[in-house]
């Protein structure tokens, strides 16, 4: 989800003139038209908590403006000065005259340009101490000698490299002078897309809108690095983020990760993370799983994974809410929430995180795991590569609240969250079309599974046809898509008592009160059939600790060890009102 120039224009409008944040003034000197970049830089800076003032000085008049004591620059005191220089104005001979110029003259001129840049730096710091950003030069066209350029003793490409290196070397001799590598940006997206000759011809703006966006983001990135606003910690989900599949369901041998085959995507992603870790970025884990499953997986598959459990400085593995986990991680590491990144394949988890802890940077993940590694590389951990409505929400929330959001444990706000998911629940009764899926679910579902019985299709068919049994199943759609059939509840009815033989649900939709809604509707259904009591048993396994206390949560009372009952003569279990719709077939919707 790349951001376009238009997106930045829109976001800049919504941010308005006076966002809240750390004041930051940027003076831009340029040798070409560059003003249209303003909204991009502004949005990027605001999203990191700055309140920027950006001022463009006169067109191609560096020395005049910098040295004029009565001028606007002299009067103001800027935090950052960007000296955006282009070859066309600073060293046109390198482009247009290369065939005429001798190596000696070239070297002389190169030194002149470097000297000029140093003088500009000095001029910018005559009366104040701003941070300074210099640009590398790029040759937008084709090399004069074309394909032979690389073979010459004296090549244009090398001359340019030498020029850029000399400037970078000079920059490194001064404190707080940073390089904006325009040449690198151009090669990243390709010169064809980066430059716009038309625009340059009639408006002296050499860059396309795409080029402007890239430059703007890079300017912001350099400034974040200068201000130390880099991200320090990445908090990662496990299932379908670090490997394909759900380890609690499929077991450590079946999750997809490895140096060959489809697991390669996850392997590369882990490798990228490992590199980041060796650069000092802290890795942490927040996963809804059983700790033993996770430990086992990292042990058994250690040859297939670059990351080991020890690479994660903190792991929060359990069934609690991830926003809570991230808060704990931040506290334990003693770092700010705004220096953390949260990566999770589930759009629901991401949305919840953005809502509850907006300071944490929660980017959208690419559709396929194959793109995770590339995505991470571009992320640079302090560059916003992907801008979406979610990011705008974060900016807005930050602006509106102006303080940290603390996690509220009252159910009220969580309910609001569930409401925003637009969940549509459909409960089926004895739906024969689903038999294959239901049988498969009994085989594969291990975590949210109260009795862990395995049924064949024939078993399920028999239950559906037998009037003493009722087979309930349900599917859920939400605003992110259709989750399909996600749950199964089988009851046996005898003497006005319904005993739950099977109760399972896909781990994908755990924690959204769907089971609460299902039990409530099923109880109503059974009540109308004359049932007065529902009983259920919890048969503990290594995998299903997550439902250990499910029955009490649903309102059942304990009868014996792991045996529970719910009286449905009078009041029925609570039906959550935050579902968009709940249908029960063959009965009508409520």
């Amino acid at each position: 989800m790349k951001s376009t120039y238009k997106d930045y224009l829109e976001l800049a409008r919504q941010i308005g003139e006076t966002p809240r944040g750390t004041p930051l003034s940027l003076a831009v000197f340029r040798s070409c038209t560059l003003e249209p970049i303003e909204p991009v830089v502004r949005v990027e800076l605001v999203s990191e908590g700055f309140a920027p003032t950006i001022r463009f000085f006169g067109y191609n008049i560096f020395e005049q403006e910098l040295l004029d004591p009565a001028g606007e620059y002299g009067k103001g005191a800027y935090d950052v000065v960007l000296l955006f220089a282009t070859l066309q104005e600073f060293f046109p001979e390198l482009i247009y005259d290369f065939h005429n110029i001798t190596p000696l003259e070239l070297e002389k001129k190169t030194q002149e340009v470097v000297h000029r840049m140093e003088q500009l730096v000095a001029a910018a710091r005559r009366t104040s101490q701003p941070r300074i950003i210099l640009t590398t030069f790029d040759h937008p066209g084709r090399w004069y000698y074309g394909i032979l350029d690389a073979q010459r003793d004296y090549s244009q490409k090398e001359a340019l490299v030498h020029l850029n290196r000399s400037i970078a070397a000079a920059a490194s001799r001064h404190k707080e002078v940073y390089m904006l590598d325009v040449q690198d940006i151009a090669s990243r997206i390709g010169k064809k897309r980066f430059y716009d000759w038309n625009m340059y011809y009639h408006s002296s703006l050499p860059f396309s809108s795409e080029g402007l966006v890239e430059i703007g983001k890079e300017i912001a990135r350099v400034m974040f690095a200068a201000y130390g606003k880099t991200k320090k910690c990445i908090v990662l989900d496990l299932d379908n983020t670090l490997w394909g599949g759900v380890v609690g369901e499929e077991g450590p041998d079946r999750v997809i990760v490895g140096p060959t085959g489809p697991g390669r995507a996850y392997y590369d992603f882990q490798l990228q993370l490992k590199h980041l870790s060796s650069k000092g970025i802290v890795l942490a884990m927040a996963s809804k799983n059983n700790p033993e499953d996770v430990k086992e997986a990292f042990l058994k598959r250690k040859d297939d994974m670059p990351l080991a459990l020890e690479d994660f400085v903190i792991t929060k593995i359990g069934w609690g809410l991830k926003p809570q986990s991230i808060q704990e991680i931040a506290q334990e590491l003693d770092i700010g929430l705004d220096s953390m990144v949260f990566l999770d394949d589930s759009p629901v988890e991401r949305e919840l995180m953005r809502e509850r802890v907006p300071e944490v940077y929660t980017p959208e993940l690419p559709e396929g795991a194959g793109e995770y590694a590339a995505f991470l590389q571009e992320l640079h951990v302090f560059e916003k590569n992907i801008y979406s409505q979610e990011d705008l929400k974060k900016v807005r929330i930050y602006q509106d609240q102006g303080k940290r959001a603390s996690l509220k444990q009252e159910s009220a706000s969580l309910e609001d969250f569930w409401r925003t998911l637009d969940m549509r629940l459909t409960i089926f009764v004895n739906e024969k079309m689903q038999i294959p899926r239901l049988a498969q679910m009994t085989q594969k579902t291990n975590q949210f599974n109260l009795t862990t019985k395995k049924y064949s299709e024939a078993d399920i068919t028999r239950r559906m046809e037998d009037p003493k049994w009722q087979v309930f199943s349900w599917s859920v759609q939400d605003k992110f898509g259709d989750n399909g059939v996600v749950g199964l509840l089988i009851v046996k009815i005898q003497d006005k008592k319904a005993s739950i033989d099977m109760f399972l649900q896909s781990c994908r939709v755990i924690g959204r009160t769907i089971e609460q809604a299902v039990i409530s509707k099923v109880a109503l259904y059974l009540q109308e059939q004359g049932v007065t009591l529902i009983t259920g048993e919890y048969i503990p396994t290594a995998k299903n600790a997550v439902v250990k206390d499910l029955y009490p949560h649903l309102g059942f009372t304990k009868q014996a060890e792991n045996v529970y009952a719910l009286n449905i003569e009078g009041a029925l279990p609570f039906l959550p009102p935050w579902f968009q719709t709940i249908h029960m077939t063959p009965q009508q919707a409520v």
Partner: protein, 189 residues
């Protein structure tokens, strides 16, 4: 030629004063040599010195051919020039041209204000009926600004002007007195 105070105009940020040969400074001359400034000017084809520029200014009699210096009202700095010339006594049409040499004043509205002051003088005092000016077709900023002042497209001379090694169209824009009178009310100055 006496300095005619009736030819001095004041706007919000600029002041226009007729320019005389002795007012020509090195800075003025330097503008004509600055490629950023003279990109679309005839001036770029010629050599410029104080002497040549003084001779140029002398050619304006300030009665039938006018040349004003544009000055920053506050600092009194000379920032550009504007001309009104080719005034036809019978047909009452005229041409105008301008340049803001001091780049600090680009995009500040100084040019628009200077042009408005001259248009007021031309249309209201001299009773001129129409004013026109030409532009290099690739100079979209210029053409945009003409439109903003209320000028409208009059015609094109195809491939008439040499620009960056190729011949480009010259587009003409013009405005009548009535059009100016109705436009000037809406402009910010």
């Amino acid at each position: 030629m006496a300095r005619n105070s009736s030819l001095v105009f004041e706007g919000r940020q600029t002041q226009l004063k007729p320019l005389f040969p002795e007012d020509v400074t090195q800075e003025y001359v330097s503008w004509l040599k600055d490629p950023g400034v003279n990109e679309f000017l005839e001036a770029r084809f010629k050599k410029h010195t104080l002497a040549t520029q003084r001779a140029y200014v002398r050619g304006f009699d300030q009665k039938t051919k006018f040349l004003w210096g544009i000055f920053d009202k506050k600092t009194k700095k000379h920032i550009g020039v504007i001309t009104l010339y080719d005034i036809h006594p019978m047909h009452k049409y005229a041409n105008y041209g301008y340049l803001i040499g001091n780049k600090k004043y680009w995009g500040t509205g100084a040019a628009q204000e200077a042009i408005a002051l001259v248009f007021d003088f031309a249309f209201l005092k001299l009773r001129i009926r129409s004013i026109s000016t030409g532009a290099y077709a690739p100079n979209v900023a210029s053409v945009f600004n003409y439109k903003k002042m209320g000028l409208s497209y009059q015609g094109t001379f195809k491939e008439r002007l040499l620009y960056k090694g190729a011949f480009v169209d010259q587009v003409w824009y013009g405005i009548t007195r009535d059009e100016w009178l109705s436009r000037r009310k809406k402009l910010a100055f």
